[in-house]
Every structure is written in C-alpha cells, then in structure tokens.
C-alpha cells in the first residue's frame, strides 16, 4: 500500500497523449455545450418575457422540465433512451478530419439542454434588470425595438448576466465528467479505465482532481478579465476583485486602455 509518488509525479508531469486528448475532449465538450446552451438560454430567456402567452408557456415548461431532471439522466436519455425507443440514434460524424463520436454529440446536446434551462433564468433576470428609464430614453431618441434591444438592453443585461454565467461554466467544466457514463473518453473516463489496469486509483484520482482544478482556475482568471472589462463604467467606485487584479497583470494592454478612460 502507500502513495506511489514516482507514479503520481510521472502522471502529473508527463500525462501522455491519451490524457491530453481526453483533456481536449473535456474542454471542447464544455465549450460547445456552453455555446449551444447560451443560444438556447437567450432564446428561452427572451421567450419567457414574450408578449405571446403560448411562447411564454412553452419556455416556462422547458425550464421547469429540465431543471427537474438530473443531468446524468438527461445524458443517458439522449444517448441510449432515444435510440432504444427508435426515435433517434447518434452516429459518428467526421468534420475537417476530426471525428465526433456519437456519445460525444449526445453529451454536448444533453449538457447544452441542461445548461440552457439555467441560462434562460439568468438571461431573463438580466433583461428584467434593465431599468425602464433606459428603454424610454432609447425610444424617445427614435430607436426601434430591434435597435434598442441590440444597443441598450443586451449590453446592459450582459453586465448582469456574465458573472452568474461564468459561475455556470465553472460548474459545467466539472459536470462533463458525467459524460463518462455514456462512454465519452474524457479525463474522468480515462482515469477510471487506467485505474482498472494499474490499480493506482488514489493517485490517478488526485491527478484528475488537479486537472479539474487547473481548468477552473484558468477559467476564473479569464472570467475576472471579462468582468473587469465589463465594469469599466464603474471603475474607481469599486475596488477590483482579486481575479480582476490577476487579470491586469496578465493583460497589461487592457489595463492601460482602462486607465485612459
């Protein structure tokens, strides 16, 4: 027994191609699910505030339904459930020489549909946070609905939406591990199959935990940068957050641009 330090260090410092590919899959899955989820979230978020009652009802139903079902169940449902019922079977797709496996597609879709429901609520809150006076001012200047949505409502809502959205992505980076259940070869699945052959379960689990930590830490810094940029209008009034300050060191050009204002 005992902790196998040499094995642990070699896994950590030289993870090997297989692990790096799995890491790429984890990140790609999270990014694609986030982007797709964001599209769903914006559509459904606006839909929940629609003038038309049927649209409001459909969007509220979607949010209620998806938020009431565990992600794991959703993933298995999309991968095996639909196929078992004969509705739809994902098959591998090769695009630009990269093959996306059926399980990967099902995972992205399941995660996106899950994320979309949470993002819809975040987006709706953001839109509702835009003050009526801002919209009235835009109208009084002759802006049409589309113009004032694009130039006033969306940018202002974005500033409210981005922090919780960033937290959601942090969460999503880790939720991707559930895709191992439907056979996506991401880092957690690889960890499990390696521990089955090496019996170094403890060491490998620490390595994969450190990997997730590294991913979320990198994301925290990026999130801090984005939020600092979006808070230009209130700089001086509020001290920069810790992540934002880390951001300034990593991105001095952005800092200089902010100082000029």
């Amino acid at each position: 027994m005992g902790f196998d330090w040499p094995f642990f260090w070699s896994r950590l410092t030289d993870p090997g191609d297989l692990y790096l590919i799995a890491l790429g899959r984890t990140v790609l899955m999270a990014v694609l699910a986030m982007l797709l989820g964001l599209v769903i979230g914006v559509l459904v978020g606006f839909g929940r505030l629609s003038k038309f009652a049927p649209i409001r009802a459909v969007c509220a139903f979607y949010v209620w339904l998806i938020r009431g079902i565990p992600v794991l169940v959703l993933l298995v449902f999309f991968f095996s459930g639909l196929a078992a019922a004969g509705f739809f079977r994902f098959s591998d797709i090769t695009l630009f020489g990269i093959t996306m496996s059926a399980s990967f597609q099902a995972a992205v879709l399941g995660l996106a549909i899950h994320e979309g429901a949470y993002m819809a609520e975040i987006v709706r809150n953001g839109i509702q946070a835009v003050q009526r006076g801002q919209i009235e001012a835009a109208k009084s200047l002759g802006m049409g609905t589309f113009q004032l949505t694009r130039r006033i409502i969306l940018p202002q809502a974005t500033r409210v939406i981005v922090p919780p959205l960033g937290n959601d992505f942090n969460h999503l980076l880790k939720t991707t591990s559930l895709a191992s259940v439907i056979g996506v070869q991401e880092i957690f699945q690889l960890t499990e199959s390696m521990s089955a052959t090496t019996f170094k379960t403890f060491e490998l689990l620490i390595v994969v935990s450190i990997t997730y930590l590294a991913l979320t830490t990198v994301w925290n810094v990026i999130q801090g940068l984005i939020e600092a940029r979006l808070r230009r209008h209130e700089r001086d009034e509020q001290p920069a957050s810790l992540t934002a300050r880390i951001g300034y060191y990593l991105w001095p050009r952005g800092d200089a641009a902010m100082e000029r204002r």
Binding site: Q131, G133, Q134, E136, A137, A138, K139, S140, L141, G142, M143, G144, T145, Q147, R151, I152, P155, Q156, R159, R232, H233, E234, D236, E237, R261
Partner: protein, 257 residues
C-alpha cells in the same frame, strides 16, 4: 392646417385612462413654433402623462395630438382613430426630444457615445459627423472635457446637461422637459436651468414641466396650470404669476411659497 404661423403642437381634448383611473380628462393645448410653454401643477395632476402622450411613451385613448401637422400615434380614417404600427410611431419620435427627471443616460456608454448613438443608428450619420455635432453640443452645455467620462462619474447636473445634449443631437423640432431639475441638488439646478434658458432663447419649441416658478416666469412665453387631468388656466407669465387668474392657481401658488 399649414403655414409658418400654425401651432407646432396641437392637443385637442386628450383623454387617457390607466385602467379605471382617468388621468387626462380632456386636455387641449397649443404650442406655436418657437414658443416655450411651462406646465406647472400639483403632483399626480397628469403633467408627465401628457408629455409622454406627445411622444407616445404612453398612448392616449381619446382626442388628438398633432405635432407639425402630423397626427401622433394614430391614423384618422374618416373620424375613426386607428393606431399606427410601431414602425411609424418610432419614426414620429425622431423629431421630438425628451429630457427626463432621472436623466436616463445610458450608463454603459461614455457621454460622447450616449450622444452619437441615436444619430448614427437612427439617422445613419457617419461617426465623424456625429462626433463633430456631439462635441459642439457638449461645448454648448459646458461639458466638453467630460466627453469620455462614464455617466456614473458625473454629478447630477452634469448628467442632465449631457442628457440635454443627447436629445439635441437628433435635431428635434420640439423638446419636452419633464421636471428636469427635480432630482438635482440646489447647487447644480442653476447650471441646468441656464442651459435650458439658453436653448429657449435660441428659438427651440419647448414644453417644460417644472416646479421652478422663477424659471417658468423668466423663460416661458406662456404658463399653464394643470390640475386633476385638466388645464385649469393659462396665461403669459406676467399675468399668470401677478394676477393669478384662477382660484385654483392662487391656492396652488400659496402651497409652494
């Protein structure tokens, strides 16, 4: 009705309900081109609602408002009023500027961006053209050095002057002011009133809802008392404040002196 001497704004028997609550009970007012009309009156008498009907932030339900000869918000089909599509209402607002009690500057944009936004987006001006106009307007309201500041960093008086510049950048025929100094400290009220007075003397047609009686007396061509959804009385400022030609006006002025 056309011609240079025609009224720019003609409101006839305007009624407005919020649910069961009749807020405007037949308001009739004319404002000639180049004229400055001040509206005073107790809170809740419908002053804001009337202004907001002129640029269709609220829809009136009976009567007619014409601006520049054009019926606002409706089409007259043989005496029946049919609401205009939103696109037409949006177009009608272009020629009417509005200044709000709470300034309502777009907080996510610098002062300059606030001013050039609508001219570029709505009027299709080039950035260089819009910025030149904006800088001239900022100079006029004494804010040239604040062009690149964000609204949150400005005092209330500075924000309101920027908001006036923003409305003027659309080159409106008519300016509506809804209690432009009510949210301001006494120290900054003066600087905003000076800008409005300067605008009045430049020949802009304006309707100003205000509680600043000295200002109304000095700057207006005509003053109106609104009470309980109706125009109680109107007169030139001298007559209005000296003779106080209605019992309600006497009572109202007594409450604020």
């Amino acid at each position: 009705m056309t011609g240079a001497d025609a009224a720019l704004v003609r409101a006839e028997n305007v009624h407005k309900w919020f649910g069961q609550n009749e807020v405007l009970k037949g308001v009739s007012l004319h404002v000639a081109r180049g004229e400055v009309l001040s509206i005073i009156g107790p809170s809740g008498s419908g002053k804001s609602t009337f202004l907001r009907c002129i640029n269709q932030l609220e829809t009136y339900q009976k009567g007619r408002i014409h601006v520049g000869g054009e019926l606002i918000g409706f089409e007259d089909r043989g005496g029946k009023l049919v609401p205009l599509p939103n696109r037409r209402i949006v177009a009608q607002r272009r020629n009417i500027g509005m200044v709000f009690q709470q300034f309502n500057l777009f907080w996510h944009m610098t002062v300059l961006d606030n001013i050039i936004e609508a001219p570029m987006l709505v009027l299709g001006q080039r950035r260089s053209e819009a910025e030149a106009t904006a800088m001239a307007l900022l100079d006029r309201v004494g804010l040239a050095e604040k062009a690149h500041a964000y609204p949150m960093k400005l005092s209330g008086g500075q924000q309101q002057r920027a908001a006036i510049a923003r409305a003027l950048a659309m080159k409106p025929d008519l300016m509506l002011f809804d209690e432009p100094t009510s949210a301001l400290d006494p120290e900054t009220t003066g600087e905003v009133l000076n800008v409005i007075a300067d605008l009045a003397s430049s020949g802009m047609t304006m309707i100003v809802v205000t509680h600043e009686m000295a200002f109304a007396r000095q700057v207006s061509d005509r003053v109106v008392l609104m009470e309980n959804g109706k125009v109680d009385c109107e007169a030139d400022p001298e007559t209005f404040f000296r003779d106080q030609p209605s019992a309600r006006l006497k009572a109202f002025l007594a409450t604020i002196h």
